[in-house]
């Protein structure tokens, strides 16, 4: 990213004090989010809310790269989709515990992220975007051919199983609490990482990469670690989604999925802490509503991209934060 041009909204300002590294405003927002997670399943369909939560985790993972490193990945579907496949496989074929199966999905995403990230971080800016897109396309073609994915049918009738050997997940409410726990764990993990010394180095790289290099930081290693973490959480989101719906298909690895997560984050606010969550709620609701109108989903998504880029670059949370002069 060139230094002279306006960059996406800067990453949330570092909070030296506050509650668990949250600023006061962020702490309030976090409590509101917790309350919503507890109350909403009694008002809205848990299935819908679970999609929102996993969309949000996926977007938070993606946001780690764009918001804190300025790296725009157009290939995150690869980690999400492969995580979904391997999580499904672990549950259905290896009969693992649901929690363990989801970790298998996360590990799959992380390992794939290690390989693809190692290649992609050799370039930055728009080349990084094109390389991640192309690599994800390769993963997609692999999934079309590979026998274990079940081709067009996907892996179906995945049992939800039991989490931690104690909690059966058959009911939607049980699954919902499990999903909410996974989301919160992922969300707080990202928050913890960003506010660690490691996160400060990421910000330094984003602000001025040459200077970070001259200060002796192994910038490529930092980028790769962030990439792997992002891919790991994407894999977790993919695997959890396959457990929720009992199915893992090519739909998870297709390049549209990579576009979705970019849109979700852009709508919510690139580089904001809560933007990906708000973005996921908005885009999931929109997709739900528009699903009956066929291609209008894509058209609307495209139009939102255009409007956001031209007139609403800070996204919903970024805009609110700027109005209130807060960091959210």
């Amino acid at each position: 990213m060139s230094a002279t041009t306006e960059t996406p909204a800067p990453a949330a300002a570092p909070a030296a004090h506050g509650i668990f590294g949250f600023t006061r405003a962020q702490a309030v927002a976090f409590v509101v989010m917790l309350a919503a997670i507890v109350i909403l399943p009694h008002i809205l369909y848990p299935i819908f809310l679970m999609r929102v939560l996993m969309g949000a985790l996926f977007a938070c993972a993606f946001n780690l790269l764009i918001g804190y490193l300025g790296l725009l990945s157009f290939g995150h579907a690869a980690f999400y989709g492969m995580g979904a496949y391997l999580g499904a496989w672990a549950l259905k074929v290896w009969h693992l515990d649901a929690a363990l199966a989801i970790l298998v999905g996360g590990a799959t995403g992380g390992l794939l992220g290690l390989a693809l990230g190692w290649l992609a971080i050799r370039r930055s800016g728009i080349y990084f975007a094109m390389i991640t897109l192309a690599l994800a396309q390769m993963v997609y073609f692999f999934c079309v051919e590979a026998p274990f994915t079940g081709g067009e049918d996907g892996i179906q009738q995945i049992p939800r199983g039991v989490a931690f050997g104690l909690f059966p997940l058959h009911s939607d409410m049980a699954m919902y609490w499990f999903t909410a726990a996974i989301f919160l764990a992922g969300f707080l993990l990202i928050h913890r990482v960003i506010h660690s010394p490691f996160g400060q180095v990421l910000k330094a790289i984003r602000e001025n990469e040459p200077r970070a290099i001259s200060l002796g930081y192994r910038v490529q290693d930092y980028k790769l670690i962030a990439f792997v973490l992002s891919a790991f959480l994407s894999g977790i989101a993919g695997a959890t989604t396959s457990v929720i719906f009992g199915i893992a298909t090519l739909d998870g690895v297709v390049s549209d999925r990579s576009g979705d997560v970019v849109l979700t984050t852009l709508v919510g606010g690139l580089g904001t802490v809560f933007g990906p969550v708000v973005g996921a709620a908005v885009t999931t609701a929109m997709e739900n509503y528009l699903a009956q109108f066929g291609s209008w989903v894509t058209i609307t998504q495209g139009a939102i991209f255009v409007v956001c880029v031209l007139a609403f670059r800070r996204g919903i949370v970024g805009e609110v934060a700027a109005r209130l002069k807060l960091s959210l």
């Binding site: 996406p8 728009i126 975007a129 690599l135 396309q137 291609s295 495209g302 991209f305 670059r313």
Partner: protein, 294 residues
Amino acid sequence: MMILGIPAPLLFGQLLLGVINGAFYAMLALGLSIIFGMLNIINFAHGALFMMGAFAAWLMLHYLGIGYFPALILGPLVIGAFGIVLEKVLISRLYKLDHLYGLLLTFGLALVIEGLFRNEYGSSGLPYNIPRALSGVTDLGFMYLPVYRAWVVAAALVVCLTTWAIIEKTPLGARLRAGTENPALVRAFGINVPRMITITYGAGVALAAFAGVLAAPIYSVNPDMGDNFINTVFAIVVIGGMGSIMGSIVTGFALGVIEGLTKVFYPQGSATVIFLVMVIVLLFLPRGLFGKAA
């Protein structure tokens, strides 16, 4: 006749398919390179505009009775003009921002365009016949060559080389090259660089539309035809690097041929071979084969 244990007609047939795909890769990669040079954005709408070229040919034939050859000129002109409008109204607002916004904007435009066409014409594809003058097959002795396919390769070569010559060998091209290097100084010489940028985008789009018209009789005209190409073309652009016009053309054709040969010798790998080449190039030459130092 067998070559390396492969029947010659099969080998040459796949090689020809590879060269034809390569012709499309070359035209699309060339357009992306030209646009990138002047605008510093990656035109994610390139595949959608390619598809619009094919639809332009189909629509002209169906509603206006305009045949293939006039469409080959009119299609790029109309779609190129549409590109100019896009640049003027939308893209030009982003030049002072990070280049990633240009990518996101054109990605959104592609979604809108493809969605609208899918709504209107479905995804099944519309037939477009090979024009009579170019139908039929020639016997080359070692293989049968469909005339239209030979025409596609020839037309693509002519258009690519003409574009190369304009950019590398004419005063207009010199202005373009200078504008890529140092737009501010070129403006200070009295050249209207913003207008040059607009026209460059229009020309790159026209090139995509020309490829689209050429593609109409080969692939069925459908809203997703650009999508199928463009991801591969992005990989090709990474392989070639966007610094060189000739580099884009050569890389495009070469990877088409490599893909064709893979179909003969290892069919399972044909969908991924170009991406594998990209991985290898990234490992050893991260800037691409023809890329210049940043």
